[in-house]
Structures are given as C-alpha cells and as structure tokens.
Amino acid sequence: MELSSATHLVNSIALRVDNLGRTVSGKILLENISFSVPPRETVAIVGPSGSGKSTLLRLLNRLDEPTTGTVFLDGVDYRELPPRELRRRIGMVTQRPYLFPGTVADNLQFGPRQREQTLSDTAIERLLGSVGLPDYALRDVANLSGGEAQRVSFARTLANEPEILLLDEPTSALDESSKHGIESLIQTILGKKSDLVPGSDEVQHQPLSCVLVTHDMAQASRLAQYAIALAAGHIVKSGRIEEVFRVEDPVS
C-alpha cells in the first residue's frame, strides 16, 4: 500500500523517493516513504498536521538528512550531488516568503549570485512579469503586501531555473483574496494555465514537476494529479488523486 501507483503509470521519472525515513532522538518522524514524481506532474502530500508532510518535503531537498533511504534526481542518488547544486535544481517555496532585506531585484539575484552569476535586467523583468509583478524590481520588500511577497518568493525560486518545485503550504499564510491569486499563479507555473499577465506573452515556462504539501484537499485536487496521504509518518494511501480522495467505504 505504500508504493505509489505513479511508479507504474509513467515511463520516466523526475524524482524517485526510495524508502525514505527520518528518526530524531529515537522518535520516528517518517518511515518507509517511497513514491515517484513523474516529469511535469504534481504530487500532493496531504494529511493531518504532525503527520510528517513538511518533514518529508525538507528531506527532498536535503535540508534535513534522511536516516534511511534516499532520493534519486534524474536517476542519480542525491547524496552524490553537491547539496548546493541539488537545492538549485530542486527549488522550494515555503508558507512564509522570508524575503531578504533590500529590493525585489536583490532577492531575485540571490540564487544566481551564489553561483557567481548575475541576472540581466531583462531576465528580472521577465521573471517578475511571470509572477504578475511587472515593474516591481526596485521596490523595497518591506513595503510589499503578503500576496506580493509570496509572488516575489516564487520568482526568487524560479530565478534558479529549478527542475522540480517543492511547495510547502504556499497559500496558507495568506488572506482569501491573495490565496486565489497565488493558486492561479501556481497553475501558470505548473503549465496548467496560460499566462495570467496581459501583455507579457514572452513568458514560456517549461512545465515543472512539483511536490505540493497542503492541508487543503480542494486545493490539492485543483493543482495535483497524484496524491500521497500521510498519517503519523507513514503513507496510508497513494495514487492518482481521484483514487486517494475517493470516500472510503464506511464498512471496510
């Protein structure tokens, strides 16, 4: 029951999670987690709080060290990749944006600068256009609204040109109206919707593979094709999203 049917449904795999587990001071946080993320598809991780959703996401870009198992990125064991390269290729957007003090452009430059690269003004404008914030480059991040800050956070992660996107409750810290905007932005980024910004038709996203942590089942259904249900650190159900979310027969 712990194996994702996703494994069998697709030929190529962007990310393969193999028997991943994490134990801290004798407490099992996650155990026996295996699943795959097909290219250009989104896997939602759902479950009650404390079930290990965020813990799992942090293992996927190796912010924490797995106690057992590993992750294969394009068939390569991620422990063989330098962590900094791994984290560039597997981008992450968290619940809160945690922008660095300075301008919006400074934030977008952060990732490339770690590799001694600089984004051109055109590249910055294109990124900002793609998240619906044209002409925001020189704004101070201190003056942004919650929704705008989260958009900058997406643009900052996309500036690294990741192959896989990890989203940790990306809308749950926002008010209702911003929530809707960010969800629609995610759909654009994941290639499920044409560009939301009028006039910036040069935006051409290579659709990304994505792992989305959310407690919102409806949001998961709107954004993901596959789902993994976690409870107490174990996979209790996995497969195509409509199968996972199908109401159980009350007798069984």
């Binding site: 912010l63 981008g91 660095f100 992660t157």
Partner: protein
C-alpha cells in the same frame, strides 16, 4: 571609620568586605520588595567570589617566590576555566566549550605572549598573572556575548537561513550577517570602555596603582595600555570563536543543525 577600629590589615580587609557585601545585600532586600528574588543567586555568588579571590590571593602569595615560567600554567588553567564559563552562555551550540577555549587561547593567549615579548607586560609572576587574567576575563566575556548573540540570532532567523540554503547558498554565507552582527555586538563593552576611559570610570587597575603609590600619569597611561590590550584580545577572541562556531552550526551537507528546541 573602619580603619580606626581595625589595625590588622587582614581583619580590616574582612571588615571592608563585610561592609561592601552589606551594600549588595541591601540591593537584594530592595529587589525583594519589588518581587525580584536575587538572594539565593547573589548569596552564592558573593560567598563563592570571596572564597575564590582569597584562594587566588593565597596562591599568589605562595607564587611570589615561584619561578616566572609557572605563569604559563596558571594562565593556561585560567583560559580553560574561561572557556568552560563562556560555553555555558551558548547552550545548544555544538562544541561550545572547545570553540570557546580555542578562541580565548588564540585571542588572549597571543596578545599576552606578544605583549610580554615586547616588554609591555612585565615578566614577574605578580604582574603577568594579574594582567593576563584581565585579558582572559575580558576575552571570556566577549566570547560569551558573541556566542550568546549568534545563537539567539540563528534561532530567531531559522526561516531566513534555511531559505538561503534552499536557494543554493552555503552555510557560511547563509549566516554571514548574523556572524557579523554578533561580532560587533560582542565588542560594544570593550569599545565603550575605551571611549569612556577616565570620563565615566577610573578602572580598577589604575585605582590599584594609585592606591599603591604609583605616579598618576604612568598609572593613567598604563591603564590605557591595558584597555587597548583588552580590546585587541577580546576582538581576536570574538573573531576566532564566531568563525569556529559558524562551521559547527552546519553539517557537511550544509544543513542547519541549530534549531529551536534542538537537543543541547
């Protein structure tokens, strides 16, 4: 007044200690009336401080005739004790004791050695040990401040630091601004002592030299010398300790190891 009552210097000293401790106890009493309970902590600190300093005084008495090279052992023991004390200010920081001891040894130790070689600090044990201990004690305070500040800054900014890591930064650059901030903050007392020297306070060493009959101008200049040495050794200590601890806050895979509620 006490001098008319006591003629024996030791008794006089104890009476003076009693009077000074009385002032401290009055503060405890006042604090208590405002609901702040210091009596246990301060009581222990007063007794402990008196016993320690009397013990050191006795050791110094014995050492008056010891060869000068024994200073090295005394100063080394002080450095280790200083490392242990300031490591207590950085609970949960991996390797705080080793880092603190190394930092104080590098910072205070190197300045003491250099200044002794140059003849700024005299070699007799009765000069080298007290002056050395001042540098070590100040290095200890600075080191404790630096580690304490770095620890609380890192714990308060876990989100920002891990965001930087997740964007491909290495640990070193992810905490660079906090390392810088704790280094600067730790040096505020040393810088302020230099700035306010003579205006706000006449420090203990100069007071002691004056009391023992040294020429005021020389006592004043030497006090400056000591504060400048304190600044140098404290600064070097803080620099070494923040750099050493920075490397230990991250795993080899650039994972942040220091988190709120992390096991000590």
């Amino acid at each position: 007044m006490l001098k008319t009552l006591f003629h024996d210097p030791l008794r006089l000293g104890l009476a003076q200690a009693g009077a000074a401790a009385m002032a401290a106890l009055i503060v405890v009493f006042l604090a208590r009336r405002r609901g702040i309970h210091l009596e246990k902590e301060l009581g222990i600190a007063l007794v402990r401080g008196l016993i320690q300093i009397v013990a050191v005084g006795s050791v110094l008495l014995l050492l008056l005739r010891a060869p000068n090279w024994t200073s090295i052992f005394l100063l080394t023991a002080m450095i280790v004790a200083a490392g242990a004390t300031s490591a207590g200010r950085a609970k949960g920081m991996p390797g705080a004791f080793v880092v603190s001891t190394w930092a104080i040894a590098c910072g205070a130790g190197s300045i003491i050695a250099l200044m002794t070689l140059l003849g700024v600090i005299d070699t007799p044990i009765t000069t080298l040990v007290p002056v050395g201990s001042m540098l070590i004690a100040n290095a200890m305070n600075t080191n404790g401040l630096a580690l304490n500040r770095l620890r609380s800054d890192v714990i308060a900014h876990v989100g920002e630091i891990e965001t930087a890591l997740a964007l491909g930064a290495d640990g070193k650059s992810a905490v660079a601004s906090y390392v810088q901030g704790s280094f600067e903050a730790s040096l505020i007392p040393a810088i302020d002592s230099l700035r306010s020297l003579g205006i706000v306070w006449i420090p203990g060493l100069m007071a002691g030299m004056l009391l023992s009959g040294a020429r005021p101008l020389y006592a004043a200049i030497y006090q400056f010398v000591v504060l400048a040495m304190i600044f140098a050794s404290s600064g070097l200590t803080s620099l070494v300790s923040t750099l050493l601890i920075r490397a230990r806050v991250f795993s080899s895979a650039d994972q942040l190891m220091l988190r709120p509620g992390a096991p000590a």
